[in-house]
């Protein structure tokens, strides 16, 4: 791995140093480009998967849609046009043309039109639902990340003490509880057995949405349980990975070196913390992607009108354009955040930056 250098001086002119820097920049640029292309290919693959899923649906809903329109007295040409607006393609063409038509619509960011909310575009519905999910999961993610990282660090440093054991057990226990179990338990305990929080809906129907205290207060009190359901079910994962990360960094030679060089305790702590957090940041960025689809259980239990809720209701309403559009958006969010995580890693880890060239 490490090549030994010759014992003689290693002269390096300023020109060569500038060269090296330029090479490194080009390397980062190339890496960035490659990642973006890979992400685009991935989005194309997911779109293809979605297309064939809609195709595999039992009972050919696209044809059914067309025939329904006909039976309502719509002229065939008009019915074809409307079906194309709804699904992005019609089933009268060869599959290749259908696929091409579907992709062409997607390229224009057109996800089709909802059936259950008749006349409303899928993009519109999806964009209206997304903020609920983002707010819910982002707060849950931040709460669990902060708690988990803190507890994990303490558990690692005090791993031979009672406190360390206790924290580790708390992590393993919570890590083992699936999200829907957590959601149901929290809902049952805190809205039925001890009714301290309101149940269901993102805010009381009595308050008027807007910038008023009643609305915001209602939003917050309705969000507490869902946010904690999310936070508690992901806390264990953060806690356990932070613990193992800190334990492994504490065993690194440079940590002992820092101690034997008499660095301030705070500086030593910074060294350990930064190295231990590094791998977790990438996971954090990845989680941002999974949050779009990751709160489906919680949204379902607490009747929260986010993307997961939209996906479920589209299925029970047999609103397939809405279903495939929501699914596509959820997946694209994952792909984009993978890309983000990758770039973030390049940015914060000098070793990866070095490899790029």
């Amino acid at each position: 791995m490490v090549s030994a250098s010759p014992p003689i001086a290693e002269p390096q002119s300023t020109g060569r140093r500038a060269d090296a820097r330029k090479r490194r920049l080009i390397g980062v640029g190339r890496r960035l480009g490659a990642r973006i292309v890979a992400a685009l290919v991935m989005i194309w693959a997911v779109a293809t998967l979605t297309f064939f899923l809609v195709h595999a649906l039992p009972g050919n809903p696209v044809q059914v849609q067309y025939e329904t329109l006909l039976s309502h007295g719509v002229p065939p040409a008009q019915a074809l046009k409307e079906t194309r607006i709804i699904y992005g393609f019609v089933s009268h063409e060869p599959v290749v043309n259908q696929y091409g038509s579907y992709l062409w619509q997607l390229l224009h960011l057109n996800l089709g039109q909802s059936i259950s909310y008749s006349g409303v575009s899928v993009s519109h519905l999806v964009l209206a639902a997304a903020p609920w999910t983002v707010i819910l999961v982002l707060s849950g993610l931040v709460v669990s990340f902060l708690l988990g990282v803190l507890a994990g660090a303490v558990a690692a440093v005090r791993r031979t003490s009672k406190l360390g054991d206790l924290l580790s057990i708390s992590g393993s226990l919570l890590h083992g509880i699936p999200q829907f179990v957590m959601a149901v338990l929290l809902a049952y305990v805190f809205t039925t057995l001890l009714p301290v929080f309101p149940f269901g809906a993102p805010y009381d129907i009595t308050v008027i949405p807007g910038w008023n205290l009643a609305y915001i207060g209602s939003l917050v009190s309705h969000a507490v349980l869902p946010v904690f359901a999310y936070a508690l079910s992901s806390y264990g994962g953060w806690m356990l990975s932070m613990k193992s990360s800190v334990v492994s960094v504490l065993g690194d030679d440079f940590v002992l070196a820092a101690e034997l060089r008499g660095l301030k305790p705070l500086t030593q702590l910074r060294y350990v913390a930064r190295n231990a957090l590094l791998p977790l940041f990438t996971v954090f960025a990845l989680s941002i992607g999974f949050m779009f689809g990751g709160s489906i259980f919680i949204e379902d239990v607490f009747d929260y009108p986010g993307l997961g809720h939209l996906l479920l209701s589209s299925i029970s309403a047999r609103d397939y354009p809405l279903m495939s559009g929501t699914f596509l958006l959820i997946t694209v969010a994952v792909i984009l955040s993978n890309l983000l995580a990758d770039l973030l890693y390049t940015f914060i880890d000098p070793r990866v930056r070095g490899q790029a060239s």
């Binding site: 393993s172 699936p178 179990v181």
Partner: protein, 274 residues
């Protein structure tokens, strides 16, 4: 293997659920009796875990529901492990274009979020059969293992004994299954158990969401009916009805985790000496 009480408990839990799954459908009638006079009855001798919204015995629901859960989770775990290990080994050992293709495929499988995909798939397939459910769950859950096995295969292939095997011109099949696999077997065994846990969560979760047909008897269905149809979540009397499937899921997971701990110790010499 059975030295510590924890592991004994783990084995007891798993054997207990397995027995439930095996004999459950025999000792209870196919259609469990309903009793309009005993709706949300508390625990009693006749109904140790109380009754549900129709007066059906909760214990009976639990026992008859175990088979679907266990069977599909086991199948899902096996499918995920076989697919993941094969793809990981082949990609890591062959490298080159094969690796590139398989790795991209793995990335793709890892990228598509599992639960939303399963929810969408539920509109295509009706998962009334636990076998079908297991296969589909397995086919959506092999990505992580494939990636991990690939990186292990990448490092193992540089070992002298494998270079020797290559030098001797042994067939690929022999190298993959006889030389490489035994080295990662402990890892694969642990991942089988982890995949089983993941599958239990995923399938009960799916049934809980109500996107799958409620005709089958399954803990997830129990929970779905309790929370969304029967309003048990708003009724303090329904405590045992609501808790029974939840606790079963957690207990089964606990049993597998305890077993995992035992497997870890058997295969990990570093832990064994401690």
């Amino acid at each position: 293997m059975l030295r510590t009480p924890g592991r004994v408990a783990g084995v007891v839990i798993i054997v207990g659920f397995a027995v439930m799954g095996l004999i459950g459908p025999w000792i209870y009638p196919h259609n469990l009796p309903v009793n309009a006079n005993a709706i949300y009855a508390g625990p009693s001798l006749a109904h140790p875990l109380g009754t549900d919204f129709e007066g059906t015995d909760v214990l009976a629901l639990l026992v008859t529901g175990a088979r679907y859960v266990l069977l599909s989770a086991l199948i899902a775990g096996l499918v995920a492990v076989v697919v993941g290990t094969t793809i990981g080994l082949v990609a890591g050992y062959l490298r080159g274009l094969t690796d590139l293709g398989l790795s991209r495929f793995t990335d793709f499988a890892l990228t598509v979020p599992g639960i939303p995909l399963l929810v969408v798939l539920s509109t295509v397939y009706r998962f009334t059969s636990p076998y079908m459910m297991g296969v589909v769950l397995g086919l959506t859950g092999w990505g992580g293992l494939a990636r991990a096995v690939r990186s292990q295969a990448l490092s193992l292939r540089e070992r002298p004994y494998l270079e020797a095997a290559r030098g001797l011109g042994l067939p690929l099949r022999h190298i993959l299954w006889r030389e490489l696999l035994p080295n990662i077997a402990p890892y694969v065994a642990m991942n089988l158990l982890l995949a089983v846990i993941g599958s239990i969560y995923a399938e009960t979760g799916l049934f809980f969401l109500g996107v799958l047909p409620a005709q089958v008897n399954n803990w997830g269905v129990m929970l779905n009916l309790a929370v969304f149809s029967a309003g048990a979540i708003g009724s303090p009397q329904a405590l045992t009805y609501l808790l029974a499937p939840l606790v079963s899921i957690l207990l089964l997971t606990l049993g597998i985790v305890l077993l995992l701990d035992a497997v870890d110790e058997i295969f990990n010499p570093r832990l064994r000496t401690l």
